[in-house]
């Protein structure tokens, strides 16, 4: 369906650029401390475990489960269709991110739903990660 306004572009900062740059390429990534190996999200310049500034950017599996959700009804913004299915996804690697679910009726969203990542466009020709339920066969094989 044609939408007059696209979803807002991500706000890219010096500290978050690696995450959003990867998303533009269709990759879901996180920071990993090059010294102690700790994964972290949201991105930050220093490892809170060992205070190292050395950081690697690693690609994640894109798989996780819905930790929580809400169907957002109001107030509304023209870039979105309502209700907006907002979710917190706990990724298999132990990282939590805010996102949306796609490909599911609002009433079927539930905590614990297995999901995997895909990418949708935003304003300014960026893209951001959203999540689609893993189908039952695929889920059983995990």
């Amino acid at each position: 369906m044609f939408r007059r306004v696209q979803r807002p572009a991500p706000i890219v900062t010096e500290d978050s650029a690696a995450f959003w740059d990867a998303a533009d390429e269709g990759r879901l990534v996180a920071q990993r401390c090059a010294a102690c190996g700790r994964l972290r999200h949201p991105p930050r310049p220093m490892c809170p475990e060992c205070n190292s500034l050395e950081v690697e950017v690693v690609e994640l599996s894109g798989r996780g489960v819905v930790y929580s959700y809400a169907l957002l009804h109001h107030p509304q913004h023209p870039a979105f269709e309502y209700p907006v299915p907002a979710v917190l996804v706990d990724l298999d690697e132990g990282i939590r991110i805010v996102s949306n679910v796609v490909g599911v009726e609002p009433g079927d969203i539930r905590i614990g739903l297995p999901v995997h990542v895909e990418f949708v466009p935003t304003d300014g020709e960026h893209q951001v990660p959203v999540f689609r339920p893993v189908d039952a066969d695929e889920s059983a094989a995990r």
């Binding site: 979803r7 807002p8 991500p10 929580s68 809400a70 169907l71 009804h73 109001h74 917190l88 805010v98």
Partner: protein
């Protein structure tokens, strides 16, 4: 750890406010001037007596303009607590520690807000926040914007749904708290909800803001107005016009990865564990028993966080706030009369500080919904809090 030395040394000597409305028709600066001078009059003090100003972030009032307007001749102590409304009770910590240390003699804490009629409604959908949060503590806002998660209600809904899931809490459980708050507001002439109590059915029929946790009537009221509080030493306050209310305990407590409103990264979001830490500071370190608390004023931006804070603060076990409320314990004859002005939901959202004004009135014995023989009242806002006492 010994009890912090400033406990009980400082006292609230004056309170003041403007009317609360949906369109103040004048600037936040003017509103602040009006409430501050009212609070000074209440205390029997003059602007020349004031040497400290404390506020918290998301405050549009410039200190220099306030000084120039009210006519403070010399300010020696100024601070602004981070974390927005979550920092609102921190003004009591800053004022009390400044007074106890001798850094200041008379401190004014204030908040002026046009949450309803201002340039941007407080709860409106904002799509282009700056990457930083103006020190509101809501830094993860930048991770929410591309997903349409644009408002305080939507940020907190994610925590609230998890809380419901974990403990079998329902929207009706939140509604029973709102019915009590609106019953208090109905008898409070200052309140948005004055003479307008609601039923649980009306709560359930109000439209969804965020399903399955937040109906319209679960939300605080975006309000225009200002309140101010004058704090000085208990010794000096005893010689002033108003009945002094001591700051018996005050603290802040914020945990690793905790945020305000967008608090999505702590491991277990069904517990407000920052408030658990805050309660340990207030009760354990200051050696105050929860049994001594006669009433509580708890930051109720949305009803789910009222239940979650009642549990985190230790007034009921995790998951049991719904039963505590259903049993009538938030009422005047209950175990913990709570938000007796109607709270931010029923009276109005002066960014939390109106709860301090209500706590002061309770301890003076002048509240419209007066708790009998109130001697100690807890005021909290997620990560800051205080115990006020006669």
């Amino acid at each position: 750890m010994s009890s912090p030395a400033f406990g009980g040394i400082a006292a609230i000597a004056g309170i003041g406010q403007t009317e609360f409305s949906r369109r103040a028709g004048r600037s936040e600066l003017q509103l602040a001037c009006e409430s501050i001078t009212a609070a000074l009059t209440d205390a029997g003090l003059r602007p020349a007596d004031v040497d400290g100003l404390v506020s918290y972030t998301v405050d549009p009032v410039e200190e220099t303009e306030l000084v120039r307007s009210v006519g403070f001749p010399e300010i020696v102590y100024s601070s602004r607590i981070p974390y927005g409304g979550g920092g609102s009770m921190g003004v009591l910590l800053h004022a009390a520690s400044a007074i106890a240390s001798g850094a200041a003699d008379v401190v004014v804490a204030y908040r002026a807000i046009r949450a309803r009629s201002g340039a941007s409604r407080f709860g409106s959908a904002k799509t282009s926040p700056s990457p930083t949060s103006a020190h509101s503590g809501t830094t993860a806002m930048q991770w929410c914007t591309p997903f349409g998660v644009l408002t305080p209600a939507s940020w907190m809904a994610l925590n609230s749904t998890r809380y419901m899931h974990e403990f079998g809490v329902t929207s009706e459980d939140f509604g029973r708290a709102v019915v009590q708050l609106r019953a208090y507001a109905a008898t409070n002439p200052n309140a948005w909800g004055y003479e307008r109590p609601i039923t649980l059915e009306e709560h359930q029929e109000s439209r969804w803001i965020a399903e399955p946790c937040i109906h319209l009537l679960d939300c605080c009221q975006e309000t225009d107005g200002s309140v101010a509080v004058v704090i000085t030493s208990a010794e000096r306050a005893a010689d002033l016009t108003a009945t002094p209310v001591r700051i018996a305990a005050a603290s802040g407590a914020g945990l690793f990865e905790q945020e305000i409103a967008t608090d999505h990264y702590r491991p277990d979001l069904s517990v407000m564990d920052g408030s658990v830490a805050l309660a340990a500071r207030l009760f354990d370190r200051f050696e105050i028993s929860r049994d001594d608390i006669d009433a509580a004023m708890i930051y109720d931006a949305f009803s789910p966080i009222l239940l979650m804070q009642l549990e985190a603060l230790g007034f009921c076990a995790p998951g049991e706030a719904k039963d505590f409320i259903a049993d009538g314990n938030l009422a005047l004859d209950g175990a913990l009369p709570c938000n007796t002005n109607g709270g931010l939901i029923g009276e109005g959202y002066i960014h939390g500080l109106n709860l301090v004004v209500e706590a002061t009135r309770q301890l003076r014995g002048t509240a419209v919904n007066q708790v009998r023989d109130a001697r100690a009242v807890l005021v909290t806002a997620s990560r800051t809090g205080a115990v006020l006492a006669t």
